[in-house]
Symmetry: C2
Subunit: 383 residues, 2 copies
């Protein structure tokens, strides 16, 4: 997995065991490899930007090499025999995403573009690779995002308790998980297709905060460790209110957002206000917490627990504010449920690859807006 925060490559190794028709998911190893600075810079330069076709093509193949190395490296570190890996799922690095159709050359077109060539990973490793998960959902009329809700449902569904899975990556998103029979174990007989859990991007996660921190520290830091800078600054209420007026927050789900909304242009507008950077960081942090809390209170009535994953779980200021804003809910890291909060998204794409191979759909139409549940991804053979 490589997220919209463009920070690197997360490899999760997962045991997925089928037993009497049921599926059991057990995380085995996890390792994150930051992108080298040059690569990160190159990725930023092609993401939702003007570039040369050559750059897209070359970066696609180069990322394939880096993904293959990261996989080999993670196996070595965790002393997992390489030959025991049966299947690999690659999300790829999103360099463009437009989930809602626009008018384009006389057609209505939604689109998404991930790079990180699966054929390179398959050729270097001899492992079958499933890649390009979002395209088929868009082809079926969906927004191509979010895809993790299906996996949230598999991982966190509880027999009696209404839960919310919250992931705070570059963008933040929630999955509302109504109670249901069966817990982490999913039987293929489950009518997954008929679940209608709302799931959507709530707005910015760490993306705006990270970009402001990089400016504030002249690139020496890429995120606000423990939310310390945010705590040193002061929330600028007027700016916060104006940001919260963005009609996106009032849109009904399904909806998704990304670097297109909260990328460099957004950050540059914030900096242009002349407000001191620690105050901007405090305000962006509050924006993340407030937009998440609003989404959770508006779209869940019976929820009792919020299970948090993604880098934002380490930002104490975000977590503290969420606990204050949602004081009647239990808010915990996914760690408490056996899932490393940093590994969840990577684990999700291992599971989606497994679903592809078994011919099972991986999207929730209620989350993406697709006309139907479809088998996600393209398969590159092992040899």
């Amino acid at each position: 997995m490589s997220g919209t925060s463009l920070d690197g490559i997360d490899v999760a190794i997962v045991d997925i065991v089928r037993k009497r028709g049921a599926v059991r998911i057990a995380p085995v190893a996890f390792h994150g490899t930051p992108y080298p600075k040059l690569i990160r810079k190159a990725l930023l330069a092609v993401s939702n930007s003007t570039t040369h076709t050559a750059t897209v093509a070359r970066l696609n193949f180069l990322l394939g090499e880096l993904y293959a190395s990261a996989l080999v490296d993670t196996c070595r570190r965790a002393r997992i025999p390489f030959a025991s890996i049966e299947l690999c799922g690659i999300h790829g690095q999103t360099i463009f995403h437009e989930g809602a159709p626009i008018g384009y050359l006389g057609h209505r077109i939604a689109s998404t573009l991930q790079i990180g060539e699966a054929a390179v990973v398959a050729e270097r490793t001899g492992i079958r690779v499933i890649s390009n998960f979002r395209e088929r959902d868009i082809a079926a009329g969906g927004q191509g995002a979010p895809l993790v809700p299906y996996v949230d449902y598999l991982l966190f569904r509880h027999r009696r308790i209404h839960r919310v899975a919250l992931n705070i990556g570059g963008i933040a998103n929630i999955t509302v998980i109504p109670p249901g029979v069966g817990q982490v174990i999913l039987s293929p007989a489950d009518k997954v297709k008929s679940i209608s859990s709302p799931a959507f991007d709530t707005g910015p996660g760490n993306m705006v905060i990270d970009a402001l921190v990089a400016r504030h520290t002249y690139g020496r830091r890429l995120f606000d460790r423990n939310g310390r800078i945010a705590r040193s600054g002061k929330v600028v209420e007027r700016l916060l209110k104006s940001m919260l007026r963005d009609p996106y927050f009032a849109l009904p789900p399904p909806k998704s957002c990304g670097r297109e909304q909260y990328g460099p242009a957004f950050v540059n507008r914030l900096i242009a206000t002349g407000i001191p950077l620690p105050d901007l960081i405090a305000t962006a942090t509050e924006l993340t917490a407030r937009s998440i809390a609003r989404a959770i209170s508006e779209h869940t009535r019976d929820a009792r627990e919020v299970i948090v994953s993604g880098g934002g779980v380490h930002n104490r200021q975000i977590m503290r504010r969420l606990r204050e804003l949602l004081s009647d809910l239990a808010i915990d890291s996914s760690d408490a449920h056996g899932i490393d909060p940093d590994a969840k998204e990577a684990i999700a794409f291992a599971i989606l690859a497994f679903e592809h191979v078994n011919g099972r759909p991986g999207n929730l139409p209620s989350a993406t807006g697709a006309q139907r549940a479809v088998v996600l991804g393209k398969s590159s053979p092992a040899y």
Copy 2:
């Protein structure tokens, strides 16, 4: 199939029957749909050019829609029941190709980029789609081209006669086909992997001629029908000699070229000479014929027959010059062998899709330079 000439979408429908372990290939229908002008313009603007990532993403999905429509339309015209189509192979539209590795961000990277989203075709048609054939060959150290030689071998191999398959598309390429047991029928037991037929791009095919014709006719014509303009002009010997001195022609195979060498920059240099356009067209036509003839005489000693396919077969001036320059060889359209010369490349990708599904390699390492024969393509499920 959509070729480098950017003229449109060719759909070939092929019966591939397996009988007692042998494979028989029978063309059933063929239809070419020109790209609408707007689309062609948009494709030209992203091919090996500076563009916005959004344009690449949107065009990828839009082309997927056009491919699906072209497939449905071809079935309707030929009155072929849609449900009888079992498998679809899509080459896609190449918008960048760099078969030889270059230094890039500290790595040696070769790359290729085709658009035309397979997930859209699979979703619209309910047919399993194999796409993105070139990436795996590049991952295996090949140039990602040419891929048709493997199919030339399947289609045209003769028990005793040494043959050359020549395709004159935007770029021209040849496959040398040494005689072998079995003819059009290929048994899976064949040691296809061990063939070492030289096969490579000989240089420009129609690409330079077409671009000059478009300039000469202010866009009213896109190719030189019957080679008439070429015959009205005079070959400029000095210019021809200087073009033939391009070190590409002396390079040993494997080698490939494309729009990168013979695209707008090349054509603009020709026009900048001030030589009248009919003379430039005559000279470009002679360049195509001479570079093909040189490649055939230098790389085949025992060849007796040249089987020609691609749009260039309709250019009488090219064919006449080839017959003069290679007077001891029989030069015929692939029609004489039961293969519509306009359909051959499209037929080739149907066959490569079939090979993928059967787990058989589709590249000839002797043609692409790959370290090994690999299964080409990515598979998108029917549903």
